[in-house]
């Protein structure tokens, strides 16, 4: 999620970066410590993966990321990140996840080298991973658990 947000922000005006990054960090932290109902676990993961795909897809917008959209995206991504960590992780996981948004800087450098297509290609891989991960939730059992001829 952090990586997807970082890549999306690379296509936003620089002036929105501080607010977006702070918004993401504060929102994620808030929902990490908020009492999120345990029954929301599957929903949180699904929302998280959908948000990853949506954030990664934003790099393909022809006009980049609008400042208000950047703020909204940061809020959204922070919410789902925090919820997932609260339900399925531990608070130190937040410290591992948040810095990943700093992929924003190498992405910006690559864009500055007029190789933005590389960022877009990597974002498409993220979308693929997100779609696959979201689908796994609906899988009753991974194929490896299915009984083989020995069983």
């Amino acid at each position: 999620m952090s990586v997807a947000l970082g890549l999306a922000l690379a296509f936003a005006p620089r002036r929105v970066w501080p607010l977006s990054l702070v918004t993401f960090a504060v929102t994620a932290t808030t929902f990490t410590i908020a009492p999120v109902p345990q029954g929301w676990l599957n929903c949180a993961f699904l929302g998280c993966w959908i948000s990853v795909a949506a954030s990664a897809a934003i790099v393909h917008l022809p006009d980049g990321l609008h400042p208000r959209a950047a703020f909204a995206l940061s809020l959204n991504d922070g919410f789902w990140s925090g919820a997932v960590i609260a339900l399925a992780g531990s608070r130190p996981d937040l410290l591992k996840a948040l810095p990943c948004v700093l992929v924003l800087f190498p992405a910006t450098l690559i864009i500055g080298l007029r190789a933005r297509i590389a960022v877009k290609v990597v974002s498409s891989w993220l979308i693929a991973i997100a779609v696959l991960a979201a689908t796994l939730q609906f899988l009753p059992v991974t194929p490896g658990y299915l009984p083989d001829h020995v069983n």
Partner: protein, 174 residues
């Protein structure tokens, strides 16, 4: 993101590398894209992982498919042949060829998704490895700009195509 134990990110990353057929096909996608130029040099490394995920989903749900091993062997043969012949397919045709073969490769990955510590990490690993193999193919394709480079890369394509014939022979001959 995965424990690195059996079935985590590291296992997933290694999965496309563990089979020479997977590895050659994915490098070929990038290499053929380099021959075809824009926009396919960028589009093919996007199309293949995306469709591969679709194939993986089919594999995970056990949807019946034509023999996957034949599809994978054919992918190596066809893609190697396209490189060897320096075939300039139109965008829609190249995309369709790559997308079709990607489904077979994804199906194989999905069928083999382990009862893992981390199936999500495994999935992320094989998608990332696939993309990086495409990039490797593109980098090899940059040799085309050097003296004798086209002959060299077409020769590589010929070897890959020959390997595809071998894989197909092995699969059909069983």
């Amino acid at each position: 993101m995965g424990t690195g134990l059996a079935g985590g990110f590291v296992s997933g990353f290694r999965h496309p590398l563990s089979g020479s057929d997977h590895l050659l096909a994915m490098v070929s996608v990038g290499l053929w894209g380099a021959f075809l130029g824009r926009p396919l040099i960028y589009a093919l490394p996007v199309i293949f992982p995306a469709m591969m995920v679709g194939g993986a989903v089919l594999g995970m749900f056990g949807v019946p498919m034509p023999p996957v091993e034949i599809g994978i062997a054919l992918s190596v043969l066809v893609l190697g042949g396209c490189i060897a012949l320096s075939l300039k397919a139109p965008v829609w045709a190249a995309s369709l060829i790559v997308a079709t073969f990607a489904v077979f490769h994804g199906y194989a990955h999905g069928m083999e998704l382990p009862s893992a510590a981390d199936p999500i990490g495994f999935s992320a690993g094989f998608v990332l490895a696939t993309g990086l193999l495409h990039v490797l193919g593109i980098c090899i394709g940059f040799l085309n700009g050097r003296r004798g480079g086209v002959v060299a890369t077409r020769s590589v394509g010929g070897i890959i195509g020959g390997m595809g014939v071998w894989y197909l022979y092995r699969v059909i001959g069983r």
